[in-house]
């Protein structure tokens, strides 16, 4: 299988900081792979996700995604690249509370033309697949439960079939029974779209879902 992400001797240091927060010698993720990155908060996970998605630029190293080194792209090219090729799910508050469920999902297409095709049909398909009842779909996001909001966030991340799905602690605000259901639905759809999944969490219990499990501290070779 092809490599979809390849990071080489990448390091990053915040302005005025005394040492690097990120220093990754080598990380390779294959197309369609499901990767679990385990890490505590404060370990530089957020910075790593910002670098991986092109929000910030490392001082050294290369980040090759889908065959392109994104460190060579301009800021706005990276923004476009992110919009086209990533689907991102956060821990919580993924949705704009004053927009309806459907509007929140189509938001993904506001910033990516590539994702804009067949949007209406796809929204319905995803909402069905993620078991969001019809009644909820036109409601404002603020009226949804946390579990429902996270599933809508998955729908938005998956819409337009981006190649890479990033999930940053998407289950930490969920109860255990809801969590299981969430993981099940997430995996079903990620597999259906053949997307690569990078899942970041401190919850070891979830690692059994994944074929590749890494400890973030081992990948990131900095002493904190």
């Amino acid at each position: 299988m092809k490599n979809i992400i390849r990071i080489n001797s990448c390091s990053f240091r915040y302005l005025n900081a005394v040492q690097d927060i990120i220093n990754i010698k080598n990380l390779t993720i294959k197309e369609g792979e499901h990767v679990f990155l385990r890490g505590k908060s404060g370990s530089g996970k957020s910075t790593f996700l910002n670098i991986l998605t092109g929000v910030i630029e490392p001082q050294q190293g290369s980040i090759e995604i889908l065959g392109r080194d994104i460190t060579t792209l301009s800021v706005s090219q990276r923004d476009k690249f992110r919009g086209d090729n990533f689907g991102i799910i956060f821990q919580q508050l993924n949705l704009l509370p004053y927009l309806s469920v459907e509007e929140n999902i189509s938001l993904a297409c506001a910033f990516s033309q590539q994702k804009s095709l067949n949007i209406k049909k796809e929204i319905n398909y995803l909402l069905d697949a993620l078991e969001i009842p019809h009644l909820l779909r036109v409601k404002k996001a603020m009226n949804l439960s946390v579990g429902e909001q996270q599933r809508v966030a998955v729908a938005r991340a998956l819409i337009g079939k981006p190649k890479i799905i990033i999930a940053d602690e998407p289950t930490s605000a969920l109860d255990n029974d809801v969590k299981e259901k969430f993981m099940e639905l997430l995996f079903k759809q990620v597999n259906a779209q053949n997307s690569t999944l990078v899942f970041v969490s401190h919850d070891k219990g979830l690692s059994s879902y994944f074929e590749s499990v890494y400890d973030f501290d081992e990948i990131n070779g900095v002493e904190l």
Binding site: I88, F90, F111, D168
Partner: protein
């Protein structure tokens, strides 16, 4: 861009009240700025249109503004009187083409009584050299004739042929010339000048009916109206006079001649000069009002900014979501720009509509529409609002750079 407009619209809908308050405060400042400008402009026009083609106004007072305000606009305190002899003397100057005496002081149900002669209607001009015209009837001919302005006719429901009793002095309910009935013989067309609110009578009749008044009290001399009209009482004093010259080039020498008149202390006022003095006074007032209105506008901008700043922490999430979906950091500038644009445009539209409605229904005769200067003023307001939205946008931009995709609050 269209999506961002929609998003801003939705986001505003979510906080209607603060948005509305910002819009209203902008609208109030637009009403003030526009209203002051329109008000001043229309009163300037009103002033300039009141008198035309009169070369010199003469009265026995030192203040040219007082003379103008009293004789032409019928405001300000009564003037020191000048003698009728001086009037006749000046009238006979070689340079003078026409002269009209004016005497003010009496009133009729709150309207000013102007004592003059038939020449007033022949020579008084206003606006762009327009003459006074009679809507009904004719000018002053007989002793007990009166001519009334259009507003007098309208408000008091008077018409040609009606009989009226004038009052002595300004208190119309107190001293009424009960024994002297006057007949309305003419109604003037509307002019938008103080003539509309005036009652005109013969100067000689004015003089005659006052012979029965001694130091403010009525002393009945049992003279019939018929007899009084035949007594041929020569006026002794008038408030002032209007002069037209044969040749306008002599205006300065005539002015000088009157100012150095031997018989009594007289003042020659050139209306155009006195009017420009009036403008200067108004300009000061205008500047002051404009400063106050601008301060209100600045307060309105602060209202808008404070409502924007209060949404900043909420916005951090929003921006992080947009960024995760591929939006650039510049998006925050667009979002704040759109918001302040919507606030100020709604405020401007609301303000302009209010001013126009006010202009349509108010008695102040404000001009409708917006002139180039006013458009520029509104344009500046929009620009200032957009520029000031850079402050919250800048703050949000910094937050967004620090946050990246992961907001830590």
């Amino acid at each position: 861009m269209r999506e961002l407009f929609y998003l801003t619209f939705k986001s505003i809908q979510n906080r209607k009240i603060t948005f509305l308050l910002s819009v209203i405060s902008i609208a109030i400042s637009v009403v003030l700025l526009l209203g002051v400008d329109k008000g001043i402009k229309s009163s300037k026009k009103h002033f300039i249109n009141t008198i035309n083609s009169t070369d010199i106004i003469v009265a026995s007072s030192n203040g040219s503004l007082d003379i103008l305000l009293n004789l032409i606009f019928h405001i300000s305190d009564p003037l020191k009187e000048m003698s009728y002899k001086s009037f006749e003397d000046i009238k006979s100057f070689d340079e003078v083409s026409w002269a009209v005496p004016l005497s003010l002081g009496d009133s009729f149900k709150g309207f000013d009584v102007v004592s003059t002669d038939e020449n007033y209607f022949k020579y008084y001009r206003y606006s762009s050299k327009k003459f006074l015209k009679f809507a009904k009837g004719r000018g002053l001919v007989d002793f007990y004739d009166v001519v009334i302005g259009s507003e007098v006719a309208k408000k008091l429901h008077l018409k040609v042929g009606d009989t009226i009793h004038l009052s002595h002095g300004k208190h119309h309910h107190k001293h009424i010339h009960k024994n002297r009935a006057f007949k309305v013989v003419g109604v003037l067309e509307k002019t938008f000048t103080p003539n509309d609110e005036s009652v005109f009578m013969q100067l000689k009749a004015d003089e005659a009916i006052h012979i029965e008044w001694q130091s403010g009290h009525f002393v009945d001399m049992h003279i019939s109206s018929e007899k009084l009209s035949r007594m041929d009482i020569e006026p002794k004093h008038i408030s002032g006079m209007l002069l037209g010259l044969k040749n306008r080039s002599t205006i300065l020498s005539v002015e000088d001649k009157i100012n150095h008149y031997r018989g009594e202390n007289l003042k020659a006022v050139i209306p155009a000069k006195a009017l420009s003095k009036l403008y200067k006074l108004m300009k000061n007032l205008q500047d002051l009002l404009m400063i106050i209105s601008s301060a209100v506008f600045i307060a309105a901008i602060f209202t808008m900014l404070s409502s924007m700043f209060s949404t900043l922490s909420e916005r951090r999430r929003e921006i992080a979501i947009f960024r995760s979906l591929g939006a650039g950091v510049k998006t925050v500038f667009i979002l704040f720009g759109i918001e302040s644009f919507l606030v100020v445009m709604s405020g401007v539209v609301m303000g302009v509509v209010l001013v126009e409605i006010f202009g349509l229904f108010s008695p102040f005769k404000l001009s409708l529409g917006i002139d180039v200067y006013q458009f520029f003023m509104l344009f500046c307001m929009v620009v200032i609002a957009l520029l000031s939205s850079l402050f919250p946008a800048m703050k949000s931009y910094k937050n967004s750079l620090a946050d990246g995709l992961v907001v830590k609050i």
